[in-house]
Symmetry: C2
Subunit: 186 residues, 2 copies
């Protein structure tokens, strides 16, 4: 459907198609959205993350990270997360508000066991993420399942902005409105 | 300099070169970073913006927006802003923490006068950004200098993450450390 952006239902369908594709296609720009959090100091923070799963039925996104990273600390003081990505081929900005739950330890052991050696290398570096180094070569890789964290992000709102030639279309879909959707001024 | 990422000084130089280019080159991914703020409800928010100016001597970034947009409301309760962009050609993530000051009215009249008709069309839509519409075609364009806001964002910290083949290099530069820079665990 090439004019999916003209209706609310098809706009939401398109977002979920793009999210599904993003979890499989390394080239999708929605695979690497910016994830915004709020630090314990009240400062917003933002970094690129990799989208690992997207489940429409539950309205959930999944991200994996090092348990010792600042983003996990941010979530301890404020579990609210917003994802943002620009998809040039679709002329579409997608913004997704969520509430995150952090799982680690025994809860992610089966996830760890399902991961390749290469994938595991991202978790458990020494020293911990953000710590001072005299030189980048000092950093050591010591894969450790204790440092894997899975972020389950329950979506509360999806907002799209489609930049069309004649019209810009902004739409908002909220869980507490059963994802019905409304048009908004761009 | 092709190995700019191996030294702190040249990493910071590269960031400022890329920022300068971003304000002139529509194709630069750093021209359209994600801007993260905190809403009055404490929820982080994030959207793509256009970088209009970058001044190294003052350590300032500039963004223009509609004065009635949610991001301006966010800044009234919390002036802290983080920008984030991924630059594929440089294998570089840039994250910039700032404190924003909003200017509008007489303070932006000369800016308005310097703008093209096309550029002015983005400010002053009816209804205001985010307001409910029965249909996207209801939105009206009424350029109005009263709805132009200039965000002056004073940088407090620049953080880079360069993904190299053998080493990932993360560096942090802070205004209150005179931008000297330090290596960090990625």
């Amino acid at each position: 459907m090439s004019d999916w952006y003209t209706e609310l239902d098809s706009t939401l369908d398109q977002v979920w198609q793009l999210l599904g594709r993003a979890t499989r296609d390394p080239k999708s720009p929605l695979r690497t959205p910016v994830m915004a959090t709020v630090g314990a100091d009240g400062h917003p923070d933002a970094r690129v993350v990799v989208l690992r799963d997207a489940a429409r039925s539950a309205g959930v996104l999944e991200v994996h990270t090092d348990r010792r990273s600042k983003k996990v600390k941010d979530l301890e003081s404020c579990p609210l997360v917003t994802f943002c990505a620009w998809l040039p081929k679709a002329d579409l900005q997608v913004r997704i508000k969520t509430i995150a739950t952090v799982a680690s330890g025994p809860d992610v052991l089966s996830l760890w066991q399902s991961m390749s050696e290469a994938a595991r290398r991202v978790y458990g570096g020494v020293p911990a993420p953000g710590m001072l180094l005299a030189h980048p070569s000092e950093f050591g890789i010591r894969p450790d399942p204790a440092d894997l964290a899975r972020l389950r992000c329950d979506i509360t709102e999806i907002e799209t902005l489609h930049l069309g030639r004649e019209l810009h279309r902004r739409a908002r879909f909220r869980r507490d409105e059963d994802w019905v959707g409304s048009w908004r001024a761009p």
